[in-house]
């Protein structure tokens, strides 16, 4: 499948940088264009790692929630048990992975007060903090993409 997704993103960033950017004179538009090019560069590097990240995030969040079950109220316990029992479907379906990840993180957000309250008598708190730390390390995107450093102007042959 050529050009690949990575090659397409790389090519689009190149066109914007080499064809469009030199023609853009307005300072605001030029700065925003630099941001767009930086974001495309970031996507080029990160997009292929997203499914693996989602799978890891889902498995890790499920582990924290499983550890937290004993300290949770009945309704939250039931919701988490039902979702975890309903195994993830096609792991190549990004949309399905994103939906499951969001659902699990929503349940974790609701579980936080109980996990915090029982930090001394359950290992759920330690697991949750470890998850948050690992997640920050593994997250595929940086907070804000930087425009690439400007290349020297091409010289005429």
């Amino acid at each position: 499948m050529r050009p690949s997704v990575t090659e397409q993103l790389e090519g689009l960033a190149r066109i914007l940088a080499e064809v469009i950017a030199p023609e853009v004179e307005a300072p605001y538009a030029a700065e925003m264009l630099g941001g767009v090019i930086g974001s495309l560069d970031s996507l080029k590097t990160a997009w292929a790692t997203v499914p693996a990240f989602l799978l890891w995030d889902i498995a890790s969040t499920e582990a924290v929630l499983a550890a937290a079950l004993p300290v949770l109220a009945e309704d939250l316990f039931a919701e988490i048990s039902a979702l975890v029992a309903d195994a993830a479907g096609d792991t190549l379906d990004w949309s399905a992975l994103e939906i499951r990840q969001v659902r699990l993180r929503e349940l974790l957000a609701r579980a936080v007060p109980a996990i915090l309250e029982h930090r001394e008598d359950s290992n759920a708190y330690a697991l949750m903090v470890e998850l948050f730390r690992d997640r920050a390390e593994r997250f595929p995107f940086s907070m804000s993409a930087r425009p690439p450093a400007k290349k020297p102007a091409p010289t005429e042959k």
Binding site: M32, V102, E106, F132, F141, S142, M143
Partner: protein
């Protein structure tokens, strides 16, 4: 776009300056600041038979940004401070309803000077940078030392009293609820920690809310004006101290080995006469990073809604720091 704004500005100024022939020259949009749309321009008009010229800056609410604030409050605060010892830009006109430029806007005099967000860590020798750091600290202390009641700010801003930390926390929690695109369990943990450790506020002062080298104007090595008052409010002065000692922004606020949080706090206490409780400052450090994270999430929301021109992702780097802070 610029032509449309220029004509709208011209029409607004023609009315304010009472000269239908007023001209706008050299107008350009600046990208300084993530939260407002700024245009700088010169205006030429006649008054009392004399040719006049002035340099101005128009600040308009964007359709989307990293921060949602109220131009009326910003204008009223700047007006109230105009006769105080806190140096602020001169505000000229307010369009609170957005009838002039399409969205709420303020026009101010464009003052000479530069914004240098890395003034404390740029190319100047260390001694000069330290002198700038002292000025910044003194300007912040002056803001906190202001008699806000005498300046009429009590009519503009609510006094949260001893509950200032909880009021600030409630505000940012509601902002999070308003903008979040997805669940953020990391921030739920931080919110719960903050609520469980909130200090009481011993004194109410004016709080700038975003004090930093990039929000002052400098001429040479002199700090001449304090800018960007859109987040100003009444509250605990330690909120600003927690902001300027935030480890996330150390590159802007510190000079390694010379100007660390201890030096900042010591000088600030001496100038204001206030005491600074270390536990309370730590709490405000955590809140500062919560604010930073929610600001990024606001930008992400605005981008997804098609109202902001930069892509922002989950601020996991801030989450990591927040975890360190609440675990320490």
């Amino acid at each position: 776009m610029n032509e449309d704004i220029a004509e709208r500005l011209r029409s607004w100024l023609a009315e304010e300056l009472d000269d239908p022939a007023v001209r706008i020259e050299g107008m350009r949009r600046t990208s300084v600041g993530y939260s407002r749309e700024n245009w700088v321009f010169d205006a030429c008009w006649k008054a009392d038979g004399q040719d006049r010229m002035g340099a101005f800056i128009a600040r308009r609410d964007p359709t989307g940004s990293v921060l949602d604030t109220d131009r009326r409050v910003e204008f009223a605060v700047l007006l109230a401070l105009s006769n105080s010892h806190v140096p602020v830009p001169k505000v000229r006109w307010l369009d609170a309803q957005g009838t002039r430029l399409g969205r709420p806007s303020i026009i101010m005099d464009l003052a000479d000077g530069v914004c240098d967000y890395l003034a404390l860590n740029g190319k100047r020798p260390a001694g000069r940078r330290l002198a700038i750091a002292h000025q910044l600290c003194d300007r912040l202390a002056d803001i906190h030392g202001l008699d806000w009641r005498a300046q009429g700010l009590g009519a503009v801003l609510d006094d949260p009293g001893p509950r200032a930390p909880i009021v600030a926390l409630d505000h940012w929690q509601s902002e999070l609820r308003r903008v979040q695109l997805e669940p953020e369990p990391e921030l739920e943990l931080v919110l719960a920690w903050l609520r469980g450790h909130a200090p009481a506020n011993p004194v109410t002062t004016l709080v700038h809310g975003d004090f930093k080298p990039g929000n002052v104007l400098m001429q040479g090595d002199d700090v001449t004006l304090v800018l960007d008052w859109e987040t100003a409010h009444l509250g605990d002065p330690l909120e600003d101290i927690g902001w300027v000692t935030n480890p996330l922004r150390a590159g802007e606020h510190r000079i390694a080995g010379l100007w660390e949080p201890a030096q900042y706090i010591e000088r600030w206490c001496r100038r204001t006469g206030f005491t600074a409780d270390a536990t309370a400052i730590h709490w405000w450090n955590v809140l500062a990073n919560l604010k930073q994270a929610i600001t990024v999430l606001t930008g992400a929301r605005s981008f997804v809604d098609g109202r902001f021109d930069r892509v922002l992702h989950s601020p996991v780097v801030i989450y990591r720091l927040l975890l360190q802070l609440i675990e320490s």
